[in-house]
């Protein structure tokens, strides 16, 4: 017999809708974005940057080996970055491998079709969800930290609980959860959008302060890439936490809204 349990309403409809729609759109944007990156797999700081200039990050091939060059250090990444198996199984010299990009073989035009088409959808979903979450109190009640949660003792205790893989079955998000969700919702997602806009020459003309804010177009491109990396990092940790906390229970809650709590 399973332990006695009770069901509580964990996620409201707006959260569930946004979560899955955003996940799908973000996956398409990330994979088409990696293909766009493949067209010029070098990142620079400042306004300009091209083949004669020095990148701070570069993914390429040295002979038949894949290499990630980062601030002067070269890391062999054969098989994943720089050189990986192409569609025919033969090694192909591409920055990000075909399984991670849309489309799977080099096509900048199609990648832009997806990336620029999905961008307004991402922004629309984000603006709607943020506005709705302010209006219905989700942001204030569930995500913003409350009085006691700022205290170092509380954060430390929560951190130790996570390290011991002891996840609260409380109705509320714990403090690390709140910080992670806030970092995505009001940090990385808005930043990935505005750095994307800052790269557009038409936007740079209309709102030059936006591109200047990031220190130039190539800096905006670098920050855009770092934001995307941050979102991937969040995704990995998020999935690990869901698996550790009980994948069925967690996914069911995000689909139906109902969460089973042991009593």
């Amino acid at each position: 017999m399973s332990a006695p349990s009770t069901w509580i309403k964990r996620h409201r409809l707006s959260t569930r809708l946004w979560h899955w729609a955003n996940a799908a759109v973000l996956a398409l944007m990330l994979m088409s974005g990696l293909m766009i990156f493949n067209a010029h797999p070098r990142l620079y700081w400042g306004e300009y940057g091209a083949n004669f200039d020095s990148p701070w990050l570069e993914i390429g091939a040295i002979g038949d080996r894949g290499a990630l060059s980062l601030g002067g250090r070269v890391i062999d990444t054969t098989g994943v970055l720089g050189v990986s198996s192409g569609a025919d199984g033969a090694p192909a010299a591409v920055a990000f491998p075909g399984w991670a990009t849309i489309p799977s073989t080099y096509n900048l035009a199609d990648a832009r079709l997806w990336h620029l088409g999905m961008a307004p959808v991402l922004v629309g979903l984000l603006l709607w969800y943020l506005a709705w979450s302010v209006w219905n109190g989700h942001l204030r009640r569930d995500l913003l930290l409350h009085d006691g949660e700022w205290k170092p003792g509380h954060v430390t205790r929560d951190l130790l609980d996570h390290l011991r893989l002891r996840f609260g079955s409380g109705e509320r998000y714990n403090v690390l959860q709140k910080l992670a969700y806030l970092a995505v919702l009001v940090g990385l997602l808005p930043l990935v959008v505005v750095t994307g806009l800052a790269m557009a020459p038409g936007m740079d003309a209309a709102w030059p302060w936006l591109t200047e804010l990031f220190g130039g177009r190539q800096s905006a491109r670098s920050v855009h890439f770092l934001c995307a990396s941050g979102l991937v990092l969040f995704f990995v940790v998020h999935i690990v936490m869901v698996v550790l906390a009980g994948p069925l229970r967690e996914v069911r809650a995000m689909v139906t809204g109902w969460w089973r709590v042991r009593t």
């Binding site: 306004e47 091209a50 075909g98 399984w99 489309p103 079709l113 020459p201 936007m203």
Partner: protein, 254 residues
């Protein structure tokens, strides 16, 4: 029947690999659906509308001489295959003339010397390639707007098409812009780059500069400007070589 023990069985690894392969193939198939492509293009059309709303007449940023790229890389063709262009190059473009025609009242033939004698605009701007790189250079030439005004546009004229001397595998390069960009103060026919006559690899004798759009709109080796009512019926009908050949956006402000 005896099954040899070393026959490769269905392994978890194999299944994951096959699954991933199917997923990738599925994604690529979705990517090829015309309905999907049209829908994505429709959604992407938001960018042009937003940019025109926020800054229809906005100027691209201009930089000081200290901000220029030490080296300005080339892309696309670095010379034109057209025999007439080769002849002009050998003659220093002394007998070359830019043709302006189509829906205009007074077709023009403007020698390089005439373009050089017109009021000049010099601008240090950032060239943004669709691939992601940028280079800052100095461009000089007459504004396109007054040239079109001299030719006198017919009321039906809506696009300026730039016919070029270069080609890819026999398909001529061409580009087009609407009249908002054609009459924009920074839209010039550059015959000078970084204080020297435009070099062959950068599009001699004249290269279009339409500063609020990506690099592929900056047509090199411009031979003829044609004013048209629409872009359909011209080559692939999408308004530019890369638009026709690969499906790049006609509006390249992003």
């Amino acid at each position: 029947m005896i099954t040899p023990r070393n026959t490769p069985a269905i392994t978890r690894r194999g299944l994951i690999g096959a699954g991933a392969g199917l997923l990738v193939a599925g994604c690529d198939r979705v990517d090829d659906l015309p309905e999907v492509r049209d829908g994505l293009a429709e959604l992407g059309g938001v960018h042009q509308r937003v940019q025109r709303l926020l800054g229809r007449n906005a100027l691209a940023r201009e930089y000081g001489a200290g901000a220029m790229s030490p080296m300005f890389r080339t892309n696309g063709n670095t010379e034109a295959g057209d025999p007439a262009w080769r002849q002009h190059l050998a003659e220093g473009f002394s007998r070359w003339a830019l043709q302006v025609g189509g829906l205009v009242h007074r077709p023009l033939a403007l020698p390089l010397s005439a373009l050089q004698a017109m009021p000049q605009r010099t601008q240090i701007t950032r060239h943004d390639c669709v691939e992601g790189w940028s280079a800052i250079g100095k461009w000089q030439g007459p504004r396109l707007g007054p040239i079109l005004a001299t030719a006198g546009l017919m009321p039906a004229a809506r696009y300026a098409v730039f016919h070029c001397a270069d080609d890819f595998g026999g398909d001529p390069y061409y580009e087009s812009i609407d009249l908002i960009d054609a009459f924009h103060p920074q839209t010039i026919l550059a015959w000078k780059m970084n204080d020297a006559p435009l070099q062959a690899q950068h599009g001699a004798p004249v290269r279009l500069r339409v500063e609020r759009q990506l690099g592929y709109k900056q047509a090199k080796y411009v031979m003829r400007i044609e004013l048209r009512e629409n872009l359909a019926g011209l080559y692939g009908g999408k308004g530019g070589y890369w638009e026709d050949a690969a499906g790049y956006q006609w509006y390249a402000g992003i």
